[in-house]
Structure formats: structure tokens, C-alpha cells
Amino acid sequence: MKRRDFLVSALTLPLFASIAGNALAADTLTVLLPPWGTLPKEMTDRFATEAGVTLDAQTLGWDDIRTKIITSMVAGTAPADATEVDWSWVGQFGAAGWYEPLDGKIDQAVIDDIPTASIFRYDGKLLAVPYNNDFRILIYNKAHLDKAGIKAAPTTPDEMLAAAKAVKAAGIADYPIGLPLSSTEGASTAWYLLTKAFGGDLFDKDFKPLFTAKDSGGYKALAFEIGALKDGLIDPASTGLKDVEVQELFKAGKITFDVAGWAGNLALYSDPAKSQVSGDVAAALMPSVTGKSRTIGLPEAVGIPTGAANGKAAEAFIAWVTKPENEIAGYETLGNLPPRLSVLKMLNEQGKLKQGDVLLAQAAVVEPLIAQGTPGWYPQFSTAVASTINQAAKGQLSVDDAVAAIAKAAEDAQKD
């Protein structure tokens, strides 16, 4: 409260009284989500009738939601009654105290059924409930491997390199490995994932970097990326490609391995209307040097900002979103992979899940990126990681210099 008192007194404007800034009647529920969180109107109408509220669904582009939330919260008002919460924001929003703890407000059995819910805990408190499950999995073009005479999907990074070389040598794809190396979050998360594939972790329990030694997972992961780039296995143009653009290349059959594949994308890749490789797409567990596949979860959730005008209705909305039938509808209409394990299993049994068995096996080993939870300095760190990887890929930094720069960025981000 002190912070806001300051802002108010600095302004000498008696504005803070208008905490219920939306100035809407209490029976209106405003929900702010990205386009893929906006369920069809027929469905939300049903909710509105059941809950006896008017639903005001606000949609914003992905990059813009965060700007909107931060502007509103710093100004001291809730942007909506329920909003998008990305896993990477949890540390910041938790430290700022911007979201209402949801413990005890949502059925515990439901939370227990959502393995990724733990990623949304800050200081032990649940800040948001996932509506979209996302974790990384190896997606590959089976036809490319068949043509190159490779029988099975790679299980280690080295096997993947060998397979990529064979595909390139056979002239099937110019650049078999798809990996974003632009200065965007996608480049950072790809490196995090490979760090785990090489058996490493980003930080120890005191947030000291674990990726600077030459035998560390993080070092090997970056060396893998830069080596594959130099060997012509990754498109040199990747320094300008975001993750979604790499995915476009996969859909066009230009690349063999979508290394940082989004589990939810399997449905898209298998859709003949949207993909040229619909018949050839396959998934495998993330390769690993340890023999045990590891992957990271990067889910999205809904939470209730502090000061929301209609928190009660927002709780009802969150509970409604997690109902099995609504998660299934979200999967079928918007392609959001259900966060509830039981729902995933049900879909798989009904044969509605593409590559369902692999998906379920990978889902079982999903871990958070940072074991102690996403810290508040994560966004600053991750931006520095992306721009450093981008520099290394452009040949401006060596791998040694790059990991040193990333370690320094981690230190700077934690400093104050």
C-alpha cells in the first residue's frame, strides 16, 4: 500500500479512491486474454447465464497484454477481473503482490490434476490456474528421416546431429535443424531446453549460474547450437527468425527437426489445411544425454488481479474454464492443450490426441524451468540471454564469451 500512497501523494490527485476503475456494475465480469484464450461466444454465453453475470471478453495481442496489465497495476487499478498470467511473469507479479492467491478458492482436486499449476506458485501461494498446457517435445519430419535411411527418432543430441547431417547430405533439407536464434524469447527457451537435454540446469539453489563450465549442460547446449549453425545444419537466417517463423518452415517441409517444438503444435502440424507436412509429422521424447528425457513446461494461466471489481465472478470463471468439457472445447476450437492430466488421458483414449502416447509420456516428465519458481528478475535475465545468443550466432561473441556474458547478466539482474 505504501507504494501507492506515494504515487497518490506525488500526484496530489485523489484518484486512488477509484480502485474499481472499470466503473462497471458488479454483475459484469471483464476477462482479458489473448486471442487463443478467447473461447467462442456460444460457450461463454452459457457461462454468463449460469453465473448470472454479463461477460465482457477483452482480447489483446500477446505482446500487448503485459504492457496493459503493468500500466494498469502501476496506476493502481485492476486491468480486468481476470487476466492472462504467463509462467514467466509469476516472479514479478508475485513480488509486486499484484495477484490474489487462489488457494482454497478453486477445488484442490482440480489443482492436483494440473501438474503445471505448481509453476504458478509464488512464495507458496497459487497466483493463477493454467488454461493452456505447453511443454516442449521433439517434433520431426518422419519422411525426411525415412528418405535418409534413419529408422528411429534420435534419443541423444549426438544422434540428432548425425541424423541432421545425413538428411543434409542426402539433399532432403538444406538446413535440417530448426531453432530460433533471433533476439526474442524463443531463442532463450530453446537454449534452456537444450541445457536440460545436456543434463544441466540453469541455476543452483542460490541462483548461482551453472552453465559457465565447459562440461556443464548450458555450455554444451550453446556449443551445440553454434556448432550446428557453423556446420550448416541450422539456417544462417535463423538469427532473424522467431519461434513462430521456424514453425512456418517446419510446416512447409523445409526443416526436419523442430527442436523446441510446442506440444500443442502437433495438432496444427497434422492439419492438412495449415501444413504441407501433415502426413509426415511425428513426435519423440526430447533427446537427452542421461537416458532420461527432460523437458520444461511453459504454460499460460488465468489469475485475478488485486483490486478486481468482481473477484467472485472471476473465481467462478476460472473454475468453469478448468471443467473437463471446457478444456476439451478449448482444445478443439483453439488448439489449447488441456492442462488437466485426466483430460489429456481421456482425449488420448478417444483417439483425439495426435501422437498422444508420446505426448502423455513427455507430459509426465515436465519440470519447471527453474526449480525454486520463476524469480522476479527472470524477464530481464531472459532478454539478455536472447540478445547474447543472437550475438553469438552472428559471430560477434565466442561460446565462452557468451556464457560469461549470460552469467554476468544473471548477476546484474539479481543485483538490485
Binding site: W36, W62, K68, A75, V244, L249, P272, A273
Partner: protein
């Protein structure tokens, strides 16, 4: 005959310059048009100056109720698109009318009337051009909430006016300064009042400046993104610039749809410019008769 020959190089130069200007301005827009007509699956291929296969599916998605695209039902975005188009038009027109009116009268005061602090006030207002949007956004948001102007045309218009007034004011001031005062003085001698002179003599002469200010304000408002992103949360006032990025879906950038929307978004401002341009040209005639 001699004059024809002597002006020939000049004419060829003019024609070449026109071609260059047209190519520079239209080239990327033409490319946007081509993209909007290319089937999504063909976008990743060698670029060709005209799509091998033309599709209207992106426009159908914008206009049609529900259309079929390769066997899939595609949801229409027309209700959202048309609402956002209307919002863009309404806020831009309102901002233009208010800004030009205030600037036309206000700049006159800064040139022809004497009042304390005149030059200081003018410099201070023009200097606000340099303020980045981020600098004032959060205090402004707090203010708009307290005035209950979030998601209203009034709120957006007021912010646009405050952002574009300095440029319009400066432009109008320079127009009035270039105008000889003798015409006004003649009118005063005939017994005409200040306001009458301003409206009936000065403003018609300032037409090119007024039209240029209107074009500048309208197009600046049309392209705004940050302001409506924060101050227009719903389709009640949300403009095209905020709606179009929503076509970047989670796992798919709908290039075709974005470009189709961009091409349609060009049409209203171009019509307006064509319309206003008649007056910008007729301003020349007014200038010539001085």
C-alpha cells in the same frame, strides 16, 4: 517550338521523378497486396511478382459470414473488423476536427494578438512534441480512470488532440506569419470585427495550411497504437491498429489476413486525402490572386 525543346529535358526529368516516387510509395504496398492474395501454403516459396494462384480467402475471412477454406470452416472476423474500422474512423475524424479547429483559432492568437506569456506558452506547447508516449502513459491512465474516460470516444479524442495539437499549431502559426497583414487591415478599416476577419478572410487564405494540418492529424491518429492499446480495452473504441496484431495467433502468424486487413485499412485515409486534396490545390489559386 523552341520552348518545347528547352523544356523537354525538364519534362523527362519530371516524368522519371514521378515514376520513382510512385514506385517507392507503391512498391511495398503492392507487395502487401500480393501477400494478401496468396494462399497461405504458397507464401514460403520463391517470390513472384504476381501470385501463381490467387485466393480471396483472407478477404473472405474479413468479410464473409463463414467461408470455406480448403475444406475448413473459417470464422469471419467481419464483426470485429467493421467495429474497429468504425472506431478508427470516428476517433481520427473527431481528433482531426477538434485539433484543426483549436489550432486554427489558437495559432491566430499566437500571431496576431498580444497577451502576456505568448511566446513562452507557444514554445512550451510545441516542445511537448518531443515527449515519448511511455513518459506520460501511466499518469495519464490514472487521470483517465478518475475522469471515467477509459474506453470512451471522448477520452481517446482528448488524448489525440493533446498529442497532435502542437504540430498543427506550429504549422498554422507559420502559415499566418507568412500572410501579409494588409488584407486584414483593409477589412478592419471597413469596420469588420476581429472574429469576422479571421473567419471570412484569414481562414480561407490559410486553406493549404488547414488541409495539411488535417491530413497530418488524421493520419497520425489513424496509425496510433500505444494510446488505444491502453485506453481502448474493448471493441467499444478499439481501432484497427490494435485489432490487427491480434491476428498473430499463438502458433501461426496469419500474414495473409494481416495484409488483407492492412490493405483495407488504407482505403479510408486515401479517400479522405483525395477529397481534401482538392482544397489543398485550390489553396494555390487563392495564393495566386493575392
Amino acid at each position: 517550338m523552341r520552348s518545347l525543346i528547352s523544356t523537354l529535358p525538364g519534362r523527362v526529368g519530371t516524368v522519371l521523378a514521378v515514376i520513382l516516387l510512385v514506385a517507392w510509395s507503391l512498391g511495398p504496398i503492392y507487395w502487401s497486396l500480393v501477400t494478401s492474395l496468396t494462399p497461405p501454403l504458397h507464401l514460403l516459396g520463391a517470390p513472384s511478382l504476381w501470385p501463381h494462384q490467387i485466393t480471396f480467402e483472407h478477404y473472405a475471412k474479413l468479410f464473409g459470414a463463414t467461408s470455406l477454406s480448403q475444406g475448413n470452416a473459417v470464422q469471419s472476423v467481419w464483426p470485429q473488423f467493421s467495429a474497429a474500422l468504425a472506431n478508427s474512423l470516428i476517433t481520427s475524424v473527431l481528433a482531426t476536427v477538434v485539433t484543426v479547429a483549436i489550432a486554427a483559432f489558437g495559432a491566430y492568437a499566437f500571431v496576431r494578438l498580444e497577451f502576456p506569456g505568448r511566446d513562452l506558452l507557444f514554445v512550451a506547447v510545441v516542445a511537448t512534441l518531443a515527449i515519448p508516449a511511455y513518459t506520460v502513459m501511466i499518469p495519464l491512465y490514472r487521470l483517465m480512470i478518475s475522469l471515467k474516460l477509459i474506453d470512451t470516444y471522448t477520452g481517446i479524442t482528448l488524448i489525440y488532440v493533446s498529442a497532435f495539437l502542437p504540430l498543427a499549431l506550429w504549422l498554422m502559426r507559420s502559415v499566418y506569419q507568412a500572410m501579409p497583414i494588409s488584407l486584414e487591415e483593409a477589412a478592419w478599416l471597413d469596420g469588420a470585427g476581429r472574429v469576422y476577419t479571421l473567419v471570412h478572410i484569414v481562414l480561407p487564405l490559410a486553406a493549404p495550411g488547414l488541409i495539411a494540418s488535417a491530413i497530418l492529424t488524421f493520419l497520425n491518429a489513424w496509425g496510433q497504437f500505444m494510446v488505444p492499446l491502453v485506453f481502448s480495452p474493448t471493441l467499444a473504441t478499439k481501432p484497427l491498429t490494435v485489432l490487427i496484431p491480434e491476428f498473430v495467433t499463438r502458433n501461426y502468424i496469419d500474414f495473409g489476413l494481416m495484409n488483407a486487413a492492412g490493405i483495407l485499412a488504407i482505403i479510408p485515409p486515401v479517400l479522405l486525402v483525395l477529397f481534401l486534396n482538392r482544397y489543398l490545390v485550390s489553396g494555390l489559386m487563392a495564393g495566386a490572386t493575392k
